[in-house]
């Protein structure tokens, strides 16, 4: 058991490969989290234009991506688009898929945050001479973000976990590298190491979230 899951020799031998994966997972997360937030911000700002047609369209857009598995989206971009003469590479496909998928989730959260700010505040801000954009940027958004911080954090955790999908389209992130090391060494230890790394990286966030969520429930 120890030999096949916690083999020290294998850990030492495969560490350079796994380490490169860890680095790429970190870089990938640093790219896709802001990208998703940006996509979400666009959606949330569009939703603040209270036009029924726009609202309906946005709801359909968000529900579409809530219903569509991110892996299917990724495969569609990676394996489908080349038939249209567009070969994007795994990395770019991951970026686009995350922009669309996690953008929809972030958008829904930010929209709820903006809705939680009473419209009187916007009116007050506008009456002091701020433009719509200024009122949004300086008055509404800072409070909106604070109100939905636990949800934003929870979604960010999911986004970081989702980067493991990159392994399916040969992006050399942590899981991909671990599987490479596994097939080189015929030993499952590298995958266990990857799992331990994910756990060590994300456990503090899970603990924090758990506290925030309990407090939010108790506060009701």
């Amino acid at each position: 058991m120890i030999e096949s899951f916690f083999n020290l020799e294998i850990i030492a031998a495969s560490w350079p490969i796994v380490r490169a994966g860890l680095l790429n997972t970190a870089l990938l997360s640093l790219l896709v989290v802001p990208l998703g937030l940006f996509g979400g911000l666009i959606l949330a700002l569009l939703a603040s234009v209270k036009h029924p047609a726009i609202r309906w369209l946005l709801m359909a857009w968000v529900d579409f991506f809530r219903a569509f598995p991110p892996l299917v989206l990724l495969i569609l971009l990676f394996a489908g688009l080349p038939f249209a003469g567009l070969e994007l590479g795994g990395f770019v496909c991951v970026a686009i898929a995350f922009f669309l998928n996690t953008g929809a989730y972030y958008g829904e959260i930010l929209r709820a945050g903006i809705d939680s700010i009473p419209s009187g505040q916007i009116e007050a801000a506008r009456s002091t001479g701020l433009s719509r954009l200024q009122a949004m940027t300086y008055v509404v958004l800072p409070q909106a973000v604070r109100n939905v911080l636990p949800d934003l954090l929870s979604n960010t955790l999911e986004v970081v976990k989702l980067t493991a999908l990159g392994s399916v389209v040969a992006v050399p992130e942590l899981l991909y590298q671990a599987r490479q090391a596994q097939s080189l060494t015929y030993n499952a230890t590298p995958i266990v190491v990857a799992a331990v790394i994910y756990f060590v990286m994300l456990w503090p966030v899970v603990r924090l979230l758990s506290r925030l969520e309990n407090r939010a429930f108790a506060g009701r």
Partner: protein
């Protein structure tokens, strides 16, 4: 051929679609089976853990928290790969279907336990004490006083989380489960045509979109009554 015709011939090729429709449909059946299994076992296990935790046995609670935290921190795909490629080295070889089912059920168990537990603790202590002082037993208090209130609070986050996790059935394709995405991918490589993939994508929408809309409806219904 005009641009649209060429596009349709590549991505919506009727001949290819008709040929692989049975495959996609069998994939739909596998996806539904997998999703139902995950939902039933995952939520049952999560509720069981939350109820065990309410007994307040210290060492047991620590164990529950660690297991829950573990499956909340690990990406589901990592759990699937770990079970499918890892366990054979100790002479247990679960199929791709079983690996995917177990992994997603563990993940749903973890998230639903956390949600149920938050729901249980949201019911004020005074209510427990009041119910017990009227002569209700621990079990009766839990079933008739605490859970009815807790469940209402838990439904919206639970449906959202459940949808996100059953979408993960598509991950089964990595370990050769013949669900929708797996069938669509192999049909695509057999026919050198992406039309089966488009069909697969459409199947996911047909399958999950109504669930998302229903969840939204339930969410607003519960929000009014709170």
């Amino acid at each position: 051929m005009s641009g649209w015709e060429r596009f349709a011939d590549t991505f919506l090729n009727t001949k290819v679609m008709l040929r692989y429709l049975p495959d996609i449909l069998s994939g739909v059946v596998v996806t539904i089976e997998l999703a139902l299994l995950v939902v039933v076992t995952g939520i049952a296990a999560g509720l069981t853990l939350a109820l065990l935790r309410s007994l307040g046995v210290r060492p047991l609670n620590w164990l529950i928290v660690v297991v829950v935290d573990l499956f909340r921190s690990l990406p589901p795909l990592v759990v699937i790969v770990l079970i499918y490629f890892g366990l054979p080295s100790v002479n247990i070889s679960p199929s791709g279907f079983v690996s995917t089912w177990l992994s997603l059920a563990f993940v749903l168990m973890a998230f639903s336990e956390e949600i149920f537990w938050a729901g249980i603790t949201s019911v004020a202590r005074g209510q427990w004490e009041a119910a017990r002082s009227t002569g209700l037993s621990f079990g009766q208090t839990l079933m008739s006083v605490v859970l009815p209130q807790a469940v209402r609070l838990t439904i919206p986050p639970l449906t959202n989380r459940t949808i996100a996790i059953i979408k993960g059935t598509a991950l089964g394709t990595v370990v050769a489960v013949t669900e929708i995405l797996g069938q669509a991918s192999s049909a695509m490589s057999n026919s050198y045509n992406p039309s089966p993939l488009m069909m697969g994508a459409a199947a996911y929408i047909v399958l999950f979109f109504p669930v998302v809309v229903a969840a939204r409806w339930v969410e607003t219904r519960l929000a009014w009554k709170r």
